[in-house]
């Protein structure tokens, strides 16, 4: 059992989820309620990671973050270390890869709030911040929660992008999914089985939690 890989995976999942929470709320809400000319282009771009092979996405990210790329060089001059094959690089890749998982459920959730309800809130004199906090977020919460769980579980099991961008540096970029692969390559099926089971249990728990919470919240928010 590779505990450091598990911890790394959990950390990566946690940070991806945490950073995508405000990003998803902002973008999902914006996409749900505003019409603009390039909306379908933006939506298509945000969905792209869903259909692109992880190795292809990983390859482009690797090129973009590599030591010779402007981004890679800027990062290195700022922080004195390489972006690719680092945890930070992995996190950036993970954020991009998870955009559709975070944004789409949130967008659907915001779309489900009737326009009249938001207008009523404005007529009641609520500030935009209060409307978000008191009306929109509680109503969109089931969607937001399932977006978070999806993102978390998805990051936990991601393999292709992680391998391309991060490689397999113990304690830095070797996630549990990579570790399982390594163990199998080394004919250590016992360890691979243990880790697979742990991953399975965590994923199952997360998804169950999400379904349970969503259905309960859904019932509570069911309106006529």
């Amino acid at each position: 059992m590779d505990w450091s890989a598990l911890r790394l995976s959990l950390e990566l999942s946690f940070w991806t989820m945490l950073i995508l929470l405000p990003v998803g709320i902002f973008l999902g809400r914006h996409l749900a309620w505003t019409q603009f000319r390039s909306k379908s282009v933006v939506e298509a771009l945000l969905t792209l990671p869903l259909v692109l092979p992880p190795t292809v996405l990983g390859f482009y990210l690797l090129v973009a973050m590599g030591a010779r790329s402007p981004i890679g060089q800027a990062y290195e001059s700022l922080f004195g270390q390489q972006l690719s094959f680092s945890f930070a690089g992995l996190l950036i890749a993970s954020l991009i890869f998870n955009l559709p998982f975070a944004i789409q459920p949130m967008q659907r959730a915001f779309e489900a709030i009737p326009q009249e309800v938001r207008e009523a809130a404005r007529c009641c004199g609520l500030s935009p911040w209060r409307i978000l906090r008191r009306i929109e977020l509680p109503l969109a919460w089931p969607g937001i929660l399932s977006a978070l769980v999806l993102t978390f579980a998805h990051t936990l099991g991601e393999f292709g992008v992680v391998l391309m961008v991060g490689g397999s540096i113990p304690g830095e970029t070797r996630t549990i999914a990579i570790s399982i692969y390594d163990r199998v390559q080394a004919f250590d099926n016992q360890a691979a089985a243990t880790m697979s089971a742990v991953l399975l249990i965590i994923s199952l728990a997360a998804i169950s939690l999400s379904y349970f919470a969503t259905s309960r919240l859904g019932k509570r928010h069911d309106h006529v």
Binding site: P114, E116, V117, A120, R122, C123, C124, L126, H221, V224
Partner: protein, 363 residues
């Protein structure tokens, strides 16, 4: 004339608007028109939920919208109370919280107390903790009204507030609103497509079509003297026809209508020979009893054929054919039976000239 609500809006696209309304404090003004007539857009403009291209919206001394000076006060600052068509209650908040949410100007404790008394005012004591979906349609409407009033609004805007409740509930809500309005001293706008509702609740009615306010008057005045055939038809008047003023006599005017000449109220303001529209309420058509009529009245005897007889509760709506036109009258059931009225029957009816209203072709 700074009192009350003044609205004057114009735009061509995307929704045509040419609306002028004034609503005094304490007055209920109904905006009446078919769907798509722009009445909801007008209401939403007043609330600041829709930004029209050009015009002015003023409430008392406050300018809420003035395109020429680029003034467009945000909704939250306008202090409007709005009751939405589907009530738009906050589905995750209790009845009490829904109302309290509109009173953020007050500290929390006072807010709750006031929300409680607002609920009592709309007869919903004891239902404070219920969520909107646990309330009936009528109860939801009352919460929506209480929430709209909770902010002590400067205008009360009601957007088809009775369309989402059943008929029985509607009757009692009419009464409640009629009671409530006696205590309110703000301009109140009621959007509706239901003429009876408007007649019942409103002091004045503004008739809208394609975004244009065609005529604003008391319900009685509107029905007695619509400005144009368009208004008459929007008011649901069935008997609107075209004709021509032939001549004026001492006490009445003569109007040509198909092959008939009708004696109607004197209208010297129309020149002889002018083509006109004329309208008459269904109550202006009477069955012709077989006694001779007094020549003093403006009754016009017309032979007609009964085309259809539609039973509507206690009455028959009878359609009569004469020449190219169809006249509608309402006949109480027992009268229809006494005269043995039947479809395809040929009878004579009286058109009461006093009830005939003449309108210019260009409204």
């Amino acid at each position: 004339m700074s009192e009350g609500l003044h609205v004057d809006l114009t735009q061509d696209n995307p929704i045509p608007l040419a609306a002028q309304i004034h609503c005094a404090p304490g007055e209920v003004l109904a905006l009446v028109g078919p769907s798509g007539s722009g009445k909801s857009t007008l209401l939403r403009s007043i609330a600041g939920l829709y930004k029209p291209n050009a015009g002015v919206i003023r409430c008392g001394e406050e300018v809420w919208f003035d395109s020429s000076r680029s003034v467009n006060m945000p909704t939250a600052q306008r202090r409007v109370g709005m009751v939405f068509q589907n009530f738009a209650l906050f589905p995750h908040l209790s009845a009490l919280e829904n109302i309290a949410e509109a009173m953020l100007d007050y500290p929390h404790k006072e807010r709750i107390e006031r929300a409680r008394s607002m609920l009592a005012r709309v007869h919903l004591e004891g239902l404070e903790k219920r969520l909107p979906r646990q309330l009936s349609g009528g109860q939801q409407q009352r919460v929506a009204v209480a929430r709209a009033l909770a902010r002590e609004p400067k205008v009360l805007l009601l957007d088809e507030p009775f369309s989402a409740v059943d008929r029985g509930t509607r009757e009692s809500l009419y009464n409640e609103l009629a009671e409530l309005r006696e205590e309110l001293n703000m301009p109140m706008l009621l959007v509706t497509h239901d003429l009876d509702e408007a007649t019942l609740l409103a002091d004045r009615m503004s008739i809208l079509n394609v975004g244009k306010t065609l005529q604003t008057d008391t319900p009685d005045q509107l029905l007695a003297a619509p400005h144009s055939a368009e208004v008459a038809k929007l008011l649901g008047m069935r008997n609107v026809f075209s004709g021509r003023v032939i001549r004026h006599e001492a006490k009445h005017s003569i109007v040509a209508w198909g092959e008939h000449e009708l004696r109607v109220r004197l209208r010297g303001d129309f020149e002889e020979g002018t083509s006109i529209y004329w309208a008459m309420p269904t109550s202006g058509v009477l069955l012709m009893p077989s006694r001779s009529h007094e020549s003093e009245t403006l009754d016009n005897e017309i032979p007609v054929r009964i085309v259809t007889m539609l039973a509507l509760g206690e009455q028959f709506r009878v359609t009569l054919q004469t020449g190219q036109d169809r006249v509608t009258m309402n006949v109480p059931r027992h009268i229809a039976q006494r005269y043995a009225l039947a479809e395809d029957q040929h009878i004579n009816v009286r058109l009461r000239g006093e009830t005939v209203h003449l309108m210019a072709l260009e409204g």
